[in-house]
Symmetry: C2
DNA sequence: CGTTCTACGTATACCGTTCTACGTCAAGAA
DNA sequence: TTCTTGACGTAGAACGGTATACGTAGAACG
């Protein structure tokens, strides 16, 4: 009988036997390696097709590549990451790479465990989206596996690539837009950082942009930053508290869209009109912003482009590039009803 | 020098050397296998910790397990899948299994490629959520790898487990609720099936429930099923066409929530009041339904429970169970403003 | 006291690829 | 002819674990 693997899997040996060549020759065909005649290649290809052979990634990983790329996303609820992944898939659909996702739930221990797991599985490269871990840990990982970071700002001397939009600029656009619309009591509703306030995190950059633009607009005294976790319950409670307080803001700038949706909901519950009593602005311009019942002003950083570029950089880096590259997209404000100018 | 792997990785040999035991002994400790004294176990554990050893999944996979579970989800935009994954993670957080996700974008070729890829990577088991492929293909895969299906109805004689809610019942609840509220022209807005109309697909079951309940309510003549793809543009165009037609429906039942959100948006654009002019109901009861600006009536099938049960079944099946199990949740209607009774 | 368990470790084949080193053959150069 | 050279193939050692078969020592038993 032909040499089968467990589960009756077709092995490279069987293909070699069928084609009447050596195992090494089959391997060469598989990898498009040097030193195979067209004739032999054709013969091997035919046998592979006939037998339905598929190389075992685990075995390949022991010496060569696994043709697997790992992606870490912070959570599954934020649709922005879906946009990024759409771009990634566009870039990768013609390659033989397979992409697998891990979800960290925005928890630092999970992030590390996940990346370690990806390294353990001999992935060829990883793309890490908006992590919370400090930069020297990222460097540690990047030393062991080709790495691209998205939504994480470089600080110089990286051994990995980054892809971002100019978050500070984006936040400035928001604040300028609100001030121009007649809003003054503008609150920045930030992601919870647990006091880390990493320079690399997008929320930090956005806060910097917010502060700078408030200052520039003569509203330094009105600067107010509030943090909230990602759970619906807590966001609503924080926002409710904010909107019921004595000095209620007249505009809330949320670090990401889905927080903005929660704000709209609370405003609705409290019978506040948007934008009459309160303007709301988000970030990322995900598809929810466009729904008429939300009509949420937001910053477009074109997740698709980010994902596409990140995938490109990752492939290059796997290919051997060592110098870091940092791709930056210019953000663009998309104005909608939620922040229309005051009467 | 100690025997290191590539990238200077610590190998099992090095651990064995450091602990002064055989490689086999270390492997046993790793797998909690039979025949190791507490003393030896402790010594090996200490060496592993000291050296920061991590077993290489690819190497383990060649003979044993990879401790990796694969999950296929149809798309990243539908938040329902996030709920399922939350339940999965709850069930798995105390185990040593690592979960990795693949996204099929609801395309059948992608589904197959993805599952093959997971098998190639020697995953210990897979969980497939709401696939479009016919049941005999599922059976094929299930013969090669422990498999659990979620949101895919069994037809008898399975070699895999399933986890579902009673979709037909859920749809009946919706229609009964709408009829009781005084609605008569009820349209079912279904997922595009490309004419496949697989008995296994949830949308088919929901349609069956819709038809049955319409019939039972004496509204057989009003039955009307419309299909739309998942792209925002097409959904909006289909809905707009529907709402501008001569015989405008007074209620739309959407096969999943995010379609419902699009319907609300179009209604808003057309200045139709909800539920005055049009009632809207979704399915899955994702968090968006609860937002005040949506207030979308929906069917709760508790994704968390589904995910939890599916994970449990998968672990059991990996453990060796052969008989199929089919877990079914009873759906529950959550009424909100979008389908309030007519005046 | 010899025999038989049982508990614990070790030696080693094996998993399915990749990759290095080497052999062979034909064509061209000297 | 003889020697190079390059193109093509092959043999076999890795890769880092797992699992099986076996050895050994001490305890229990008759």
């Amino acid at each position: 009988m032909a040499p089968r693997g467990k589960n009756g899997r077709v092995t490279i040996k069987e293909v070699a036997g069928d084609a009447g060549v050596s195992v090494a020759a089959v391997s060469k065909v598989l990898r498009d390696a040097y030193g195979v005649s067209d004739q032999l290649r054709a013969r091997v290809r035919a046998s592979m097709a006939k037998l339905g052979y598929r190389p075992l990634a685990a075995a390949r990983g022991m010496r060569g590549q696994t043709y697997t790329l790992g992606f870490m996303i912070p959570d599954l609820h934020n649709p922005f990451f879906a946009d990024i992944m759409a771009g990634v898939n566009t870039a990768l659909e013609r390659t033989q790479y397979q992409t697998l996702l891990g979800v960290s739930d925005s928890a630092e221990p999970n992030e590390k465990a996940l990346i370690e797991a990806m390294i353990d599985r001999q992935m060829d490269g990883i793309m890490v989206i908006g992590p919370r871990m400090p930069i020297d840990e990222v460097r540690d990982f990047a030393a062991r596996i080709p790495t691209v970071l998205v939504a994480y700002h470089p600080g110089g001397g990286e051994n990995f690539d980054t892809v971002n939009n100019d978050d500070q600029r984006g936040a400035e656009l928001v604040v300028q837009h609100l001030i121009a619309g007649g809003y003054r009591q503008i609150v920045y509703l930030s992601q919870q950082t647990h006091g880390a306030n990493l320079a690399a995190m997008v929320t930090t950059r956005r806060e910097a942009g917010y502060r700078a633009a408030m200052q520039a607009g003569g509203l330094a005294r009105n600067i107010r930053v509030v943090e909230a976790t990602q759970t619906s319950r807590e966001i609503q409670s924080v926002v409710r508290h904010l909107l019921e307080s004595r000095n209620r803001p007249d505009a809330i700038f949320c670090w990401t869209d889905f927080i903005g949706l929660e704000v709209l909901s609370v405003a609705h519950d409290l019978n506040l009109s948007v934008p009459g009593d309160l303007a709301v602005v988000g970030y990322d311009n995900t598809w929810h912003c466009d729904l008429a019942q939300n009509a949420l002003t937001s910053i477009d950083q074109s997740g698709q482009v980010l994902g596409l570029q990140a995938a490109r950089l990752l492939i290059e880096r796997i290919g051997g590039r060592e110098q870091p590259e940092h791709f930056v997209v210019t953000p663009r404000l998309v104005a909608r009803a939620s922040s229309a100018p005051r009467a």
